[in-house]
């Protein structure tokens, strides 16, 4: 909201300049976001008299003017405005002047002619928003004096950030009240003269359908007004706070709203179907053409103002077009009302319209202010438009009883850490118009002013005390204490360990969006039974491609891969840590949010390098990365995981009994096409949440064998369709505790063996903790293994 310094001064004495006021208000809780000067402060802009305006010898559109500025020789100034002419009184910015738009005036040469200043327009001087050439002053203007002195006091507009809890600050009087409290000075409320009210206006009446929707509705008729443009003071004041001037009646209603915070509405009495005003819910199918020219379809969610039975306005939001004040208006019906904030908010949200009035009503207006606002507006209307005010007609079914609150000294001390006496507390609150009505040395009971909607309990008063006392005065004698020991969060450390591990292995961390457009579901085509085939859907997304929450980290990572490949980076090793959102089977429960770690690698072959160039990333490079990670961060679990390989997709998976702990492979072809990726990308996803469940056991020491190992090299021949993992499983099972290691040293496929047949060269290392294994024992074990492999898998020993 904008407030004008000169306007504030109507109600309170301000002895500091605008900048100091802005600072003090900010420190007091009314944040001044911006301050702009209105009017002119620069004293090097003076009045001048144009003696001569000749054409510029080198430019058709420029004139060379000789200007008397009342001192020394007349100045030669080049001017581009078409309206400059001899014998005008003009505003001259002298060399050295700084204009509000930041321009510094220097002596300069314009197309070969020296210019000793500038003849200014209103826009250049910050005095207007549009102009047709230079500013021409009245002929009687004195010569050679600062323009600021001619125009009168300079002014400032303060742009305030008013928080939603302080609707009382949405007016000049409200802000002036804070200033008065801040500087301990007196507030001067507008005091309209007692109105000479006309005869009883029996034609006018007001009615409220439901006092829960509308707390108070008042009306007053003013007859015999002359609608015309507003006088300059009114127009300027409104324009400077950002409200366009309409006509004198509408401007007065806006002025009083900006003065007291009470929105008002003026109707053309003769355009109203009846002077029986009412407030009710709209009926389905009703329609209103509003002041903004839009047609609104109304229903019973909307609160409306009626005249007779016709809807003439949306209550607290916007008036109707047909009953607005026009130049032909002679009689005005002035409405000042108080509506239920929630009803106004619902109405304006449903209609998708927001006005200065709805902004105030939905935050809560002061229902006690209707009378003063109506009186004030009627008096101002009579002042600027003539006419006679009628009776104040007031429907106020349930006046709000005065409220009081008690503040304990101990509460102030408990929350602020400052010890204030009850009298000091009462003095501070009194400055904000909370009158002490009872209390003792330990407590202060105050009445709560009707405009302070936000004050509902004791703590709210503590904040008022703190604000006036000064936040900066709190905590001067503080010493650190804590009563709670911190302890590291194990999952956080676990994740951080994995992240640091991946960094040390050469990966760079990326941070990807939680939103998705459903790519993962397209790319992976999960079965319906897989919860990842569904997603958490955002009902009001920023855009259609951010409409759901990710169930997989790959899409976001591939975006990063595509982005960097497109910028010439060919070799990428990336990782990401983030949550994915897996819809819960029992909706409407919240989704599961496991934390996943993604690793993505890509490297093309054939890079030039002085030694043999690195190979492209392949399946086994990625698998190694995963195994190093598992072996480092889940050493106990690693050997117990089930490994599966899906040859047709090039994907693999490690799982425990309940979860997939790691899965990965090559990025799906659909993704490659969609993102136009030119080189294969290998990835793995580690479900860190699942992995962490296993990372809990404290290991215990196991003695190692003092006896030598026995080694056996075997050549195993596997028929088509048997994978190494299947063979390994049996070896591990038969070998049991004696199997120390299992090493594949050769893989040979096809050729002389025959189509699809694979031979594995395998070295077993066997060792007992109890004795040296005899050859006979080893042979027996190998024989058992071979027979098991043969019977289960058809794998034979090559002779």
């Amino acid at each position: 909201m904008h407030v004008l310094l000169s306007w504030l001064r109507r109600y309170v004495d301000i002895r500091v300049d605008a900048a100091a006021l802005a600072h003090d208000l900010t420190m007091h809780g009314i944040k001044v976001e911006r301050m702009t000067s209105a009017g002119l402060a620069e004293r090097l802009v003076v009045t001048g008299h144009v003696l001569e305006a000749k054409p510029h010898p080198e430019a058709d559109r420029l004139r060379v003017c000789t200007v008397d500025v009342g001192q020394g020789d007349a100045l030669e100034i080049v001017c581009g405005a078409s309206n400059v002419a001899a014998s005008q009184r003009v505003a001259v910015a002298l060399v050295g002047a700084k204009l509000p738009n930041g321009l510094k005036i220097r002596k300069s040469k314009i197309r070969g002619v020296v210019s000793n200043g500038m003849i200014c327009s209103e826009v250049e001087l910050g005095l207007g928003t549009e102009s047709n050439g230079i500013m021409v002053l009245p002929p009687e203007t004195p010569l050679g004096v600062p323009l600021a002195d001619v125009l009168g006091e300079s002014d400032a507009v303060l742009e305030l950030e008013v928080t939603p809890n302080r609707p009382d600050q949405l007016s000049h009087v409200g802000v002036a009240r804070e200033i008065a409290a801040m500087y301990s000075t007196r507030l001067r409320l507008p005091d309209p003269p007692a109105l000479r009210e006309g005869d009883d206006d029996t034609d006018t009446a007001v009615a409220i359908d439901d006092p829960a929707d509308c707390y108070r509705f008042t009306a007053r008729v003013i007859r015999g007004v002359a609608v015309r443009p507003s006088p300059a003071w009114l127009k300027t004041a409104l324009e400077r706070v950002g409200i366009g001037s309409v006509n004198n009646i509408v401007d007065v209603t806006n002025f009083v709203m900006m003065e007291l915070g009470q929105p008002l509405h003026g109707y053309d009495l003769n355009a109203l179907p009846s002077a029986h005003m009412g407030v009710r819910r709209a009926r389905r199918g009703e329609r209103l053409e509003a002041l903004d020219g839009a047609n609104y379809d109304l229903d019973d969610r909307h609160l409306v103002i009626t005249a007779g039975d016709d809807t003439v306005g949306v209550a607290g939001v916007i008036g109707g077009m047909a009953t607005r004040i026009t130049e032909a208006t002679t009689d005005v019906l002035l409405e000042a009302a108080a509506f239920d904030p929630k009803t106004v908010r619902r109405t304006r949200k449903a209609l998708n319209v927001s006005t200065d009035a709805s902004y105030r009503f939905e935050r809560g207006s002061d229902r006690e202010a209707c009378r003063l606002a109506s009186d004030r507006a009627a008096a101002l209307i009579m002042e600027v438009a003539g006419g006679t005010a009628g009776k104040f007609i007031d429907m106020y079914p349930a006046p709000r009883p005065p409220r009081s609150l008690t503040l304990r000294r101990t509460t102030v001390r408990r929350l602020l850490g400052e010890s204030l006496s009850a009298d000091a507390i009462a003095e501070i609150l009194g400055r904000l118009e909370f009158q002490r009505i009872a209390g003792d040395a330990e407590t202060v009971t105050v009445s709560v002013p009707s405009f302070r909607w936000d004050i509902v309990e004791e703590t709210d008063l503590v904040e008022e005390v703190a604000r006036v006392y000064g936040y900066e005065n709190i905590g001067k004698g503080w010493r650190f204490r804590t009563t709670v020991p911190s302890k590291p969060d194990r999952f956080d450390r676990f994740l951080d360990g994995i992240a640091e591990h991946l960094v040390a292995r050469g990966h760079t961390e990326i941070l990807t969006s939680s939103f998705s457009d459903g790519r993962e579901q397209r790319w992976f085509a999960w079965a319906d039974s897989d919860p990842r085939s569904g997603a958490v859907v955002v009902s009001n997304p920023l855009s259609s491609n951010q409409a759901q929450m990710r169930t997989h980290l790959l899409p976001g990572a591939l975006d990063a891969v595509a982005y960097n490949l497109a910028r010439g980076r060919r070799e990428l090793a990336l990782f990401a840590v983030g949550r994915v959102f897996i819809p819960s089977a029992e909706s409407p429960a919240l989704p599961e949010e496991p934390t996943h770690v993604l690793i993505a690698r890509t490297r093309p072959g054939g890079a030039l390098f002085w030694r043999s160039p690195p190979e492209p990333v392949d399946y086994f490079e990625l698998k190694a990365e995963v195994e190093v990670l598992l072996g480092t961060h889940a050493p106990d679990l690693f050997g117990e995981l089930t490994f599966e390989f899906e040859p047709s997709h090039g994907t693999f998976r490690y799982s425990d009994r309940r979860h997939t702990v790691v899965e990965g492979g090559i990025a799906p072809p659909a993704a490659m096409r969609e993102l136009d990726l030119s080189q294969p990308v290998w990835y793995a996803i580690v479900n860190a949440t699942a992995l962490f469940e296993h990372a809990t056991a404290t290991p215990t020491f196991k003695p190692f064998s003092e006896y030598p190992p026995s080694r056996r090299d075997l050549s195993l021949v596997a028929p088509s369709g048997i994978t190494w993992a299947q063979i390994e499983k049996h070896v591990v099972k038969v070998g049991g505790r004696l199997l120390e290691s299992l090493h594949v040293f050769d893989v040979y496929r096809g050729g002389t063996l025959g189509e699809g047949i694979t031979a594995y060269g395998v070295r077993l290392s066997l060792r007992s903790t109890e004795s040296t294994l005899t050859d006979a024992a080893v042979d027996a074990l190998v024989a058992k293994l071979v027979s098991k492999l043969e019977s289960e898998l058809g794998v034979t020993l090559r002779s």
Binding site: E418, I474, T483, D489
Partner: protein, 338 residues
């Protein structure tokens, strides 16, 4: 044929060699084609047949001894090392692959903030990003149909489920499950349905702090924030409290810190004001405490919320918040701070 003088001479020669070259000469002297031991072996053919096996064994023993002594002396002289060093054609040529990994600047900032707060007695708490409306708004004293809800434009999943707009719901969840005294920090990602520009992102990151005990005052809030910001930005940092409004705190505070770059004199970073708006805070509203069954007449406390992206932007001079999610390696690779 007596091997003993040969053995003695061998031991003396090996011990006398002080450079790899001299040692090599010893090797040639004994094991070369015309070497002493080679000669000894050849000479065995000249002796009586019954003497030969004993002398053959002696010859083998001498040869093994010679090799052992040479190897030991070579190791003493660092001969093998030198050979290894001499292998590369030019050791200044570029190394084979070895890429440098980095943490994301946001993770780095989370870690820095977390470790400072842990040092001050805060422990970590976390909560869901897809959150119940109850925890995000209602339990935090945002009245239904109130303009305070407009302060945070919200993504909704359904009427009562949304994407959390701040990390504050975590304090409610934590207070529900734990009894005072409690001191926690809650890091995480938050969501706002806002138009995206250089300083606004629909997804960003916050850290929330909460301290509840008997007699926790606004002075404690000021002190903890001063310690925290000094640890983060430098020991000469000052803080300034301005009244503000948040539904879940009363009194509420807008916290400024003196500019770490110009020390309050005014520069481009602080917009010439000498102060930077850094976080929001306040004393936990009694309604929030009541909603989790904590008696506001017995306990009090404070909460604060820090924008992690904003801290990172200020700390590293990042001009555009969107860079954090763009993942341009030219960006990610330059802001590592260990």
């Amino acid at each position: 044929m007596d091997p003993r003088p040969i053995e003695t001479a061998l031991r003396v020669d090996v011990a006398a060699a002080t450079t790899p070259d001299e040692l090599e000469a010893v090797r040639v002297k004994y094991l070369g084609r015309k070497g002493v031991l080679t000669g000894f072996l050849r000479a065995i053919g000249q002796v009586q047949p019954e003497e030969r096996p004993r002398l053959g064994a002696e010859s083998n023993r001498l040869k093994t001894l010679c090799e052992t002594l040479l190897a030991e002396r070579a190791a003493e002289l660092g001969v093998g090392d030198e050979v290894a060093y001499q292998r590369p054609i030019d050791g200044s040529l570029p190394a084979t692959n070895g890429s440098v990994g980095r943490r994301h600047v946001i993770s780095q900032t989370f870690r820095r903030i977390g470790s400072i707060l842990e040092g001050m007695g805060y422990r970590l708490a976390r909560g869901p990003e897809v959150e119940l409306e109850y925890y995000n708004f209602q339990a935090l004293n945002f009245p239904d149909e109130h303009p305070s809800r407009d302060l945070q434009d919200t993504f909704y999943v359904s009427n009562d489920i949304l994407l959390r707009t701040h990390t504050s719901p975590i304090q409610v969840r934590f207070m529900q499950e734990n009894k005072p005294p409690l001191k926690v920090y809650a890091p995480g990602r938050v969501y706002r349905n806002e138009a995206i520009d250089a300083s606004h992102q629909a997804e960003f990151h916050q850290v929330e702090g909460l301290y509840i005990d008997t007699d926790v005052t606004m002075a404690d809030l000021r002190g903890d924030l001063l310690l925290f910001l000094r640890e983060l930005f430098g020991s000469d940092i000052q803080v300034r409290f301005k009244p503000h409004f948040f539904p879940f705190t009363e009194p509420s505070v807008d916290v400024d810190m003196s500019c770490f770059s110009c020390h309050g004199h005014g520069c481009a970073i602080c917009g010439q004001s000498g102060w930077i708006e850094i976080l929001g805070a306040g004393m936990v509203h009694p309604n929030v405490l009541r909603a989790v069954g904590i008696d506001p007449d017995r306990y009090s406390g404070f909460a604060f919320g820090v924008g992690v992206d904003r801290i990172a932007m200020i700390r590293y001079g990042v001009p555009d918040i969107r860079m954090f999610l763009t993942n341009d390696l030219r960006f990610l690779e330059q802001l590592t701070e260990r």
